[in-house]
Amino acid sequence: MNPDKIDTSREAAGAEAPQGGTAPATAGSPGGEQPASPPAPAKRQVELRGLSAYYGDHQAVKHVGLYFAATDVTAIIGPSGCGKSTMVRCVNRMHEEIPGARAEGEVLLDGGDLYGPDVDVVAVRRAVGMVFQKPNPFPTMSIFDNVASGLRFTGTARGEVDDRVRKALSEAGLWEEVKDRLGKPGLGLSGGQQQRLCIARALAVDPEVLLMDEPCSALDPVATLRIEELIGELKQRVTIVIVTHNMQQAARVADTTAFMLGGELVEVAPTDKVFTNPDDERTEQYVTGKFG
C-alpha cells in the first residue's frame, strides 16, 4: 500500500502529537504553520507543507502547513467555502480530477511526498481512502460486491477477498446486520447502514489514512452517533481526518481541531483548547457562532 520508497521503520515514540497542551499553540499567521514540528516521519502520519490548491485562477487553499498524527482524529472546521473540503481532497489527489484544478506544495505520507514526480495516483488513493458526504454504494452491486469492489479494482486474489470483506464489515460495525444478506443490493440498506457500507468498502483495501468529508450530514442523529462511535474505534488503525460543519461533532469526535477561514489555516490545537480557550479571535468568533 505504501507508494513511497522512504524508510518507514521509524515509529514516532508513543505517537503523541505535541501540538501544545495548555501553552499557546497557534497558527496565527497566514502561513498556518504548526509551531511544534511534527515527530519524525512515522507510519500513517500525514504532513501538508505549503499546500495550495486552485480552481483555474481562483486559489481555494492558501499555503497550508498542517499534520495529522497517526492515532489521532483530526477535525477540520470552518464556514462554507473556506477550503476545507478542497484541502482534504488534495490529500488523496482527488482534487486534480476536476477539470482546471491543480495543487501545489507537498503532501507527505510516512515521509514520502504524494505529489512526487514518479508517484502513481492510483497507489496514492489505495493508501488514502475516502468516505463522502452522501453515501454512494454502487447501485448495480450487492453488499458483498460493494465491499469487495476496492479489492477487485486492485486485483486481489479471490481467496483473500472473502476474508477481507468480512473483516471490513466487522470493523465498520455492519457485519451482524448484513451477514445474512450479502447478496442483496447495497441500496436496500438504510442511510446510516449505507454509509457504514461505504466505510467498510474504504477499509477493505487497508488504507493508512481515512478521509471523511462530512460523513454524517445526510444522516439522522442516531446513525450519526453510531458512526462517531465507529470513528473512535477505528482511529487506532487508520489516521482519520474528518471535515465537518457540525462543531459539536468535531468536539465529540476529534483529538485535534483545525480551523480554516478563506483558504487559510487559522488555528490548530487540541480540541478541548479550541472549544474552551482558543487563541485566535477568529476561532473564538466562529465556534461561539458569532459568524459562519
Binding site: M247, Q248, T276, N277, G292
Partner: protein, 226 residues
Amino acid sequence: METRVQYQEELEQLEASALGGLDLVSAALSRTLEAIEHQDVELAQIVVADDDRIDGRYLEVHQALITLLATQSPVATDLRLISALLHVLKNVERMGDQCVNICKLIPLSGNEPPSDEEMVKLILAMGAQTKTLISQAKRAFADRDVELARDLVRQDDVVDDLNRDCFRLALEIGDDADRREWAMTMLLAARAIERIGDNSVDIGEQVSFVVTGLFQEFEDASHPSA
C-alpha cells in the same frame, strides 16, 4: 447578519442578574452592620427574612444558566463565563447566608448597649472595607478587569488584619466574665464578615478564569500571596 443575538442578550441579562445579587448582598450587609451598631433586633430579623430574595435570585439564575448550557451548547468564552457565573452565584448565596448568621447572633447579645466601643468600631470598619470589596469585585467582573480583581487580595488583607485585631481584643475582654459572652458573639460576627471578604476574592479569581481561560488561586490558606 448577526447571529445568536437572542442567546447573547440572554447571557448578558443573566450576568447582570448574577452581579445584581451582589447589590442585594451589599444592602444586606449594610443593614446587618446597622443592626450591630444599634442592637436593632427587628432590623436583624428583616435581614434574615430578606435572605429569601437572595436565595431566590440564586435559584432563578442558576436554573437559567443550566438551561442555557443544555440548549445553546456554549463553548469557549461563553462556556467559561457561564461556569464563572455559577461560581459567582454560589458565592453570592454564601455571602447572604453569612449576613443571616450574623443577624441571628444579635438578639443573643442581650438588649443592653454594646460593651466595648472599640470592638464595635473594628467590626464596623471590617464591614465597610468588605462593602468596598464587594463593589470592587462586581466592577472587576463586569469590566473583565483582571488587575482590579487581583487587587482584591490586597483589599482583603485589610479585612484579615482587622479580624486579627478583633481576636486580640476579644482575648483581652475575655478576662471579664460579664463581657465574655458578648465578645465571643462579636468574634463570630467578625469571622462571618471575614468570610464574606474571601467570597469576594473568589469572585475575583473567576474574573481571571473568564479572561485568560486559566484558573489560578490568587491567595489561599495554602498559597499565601507573595
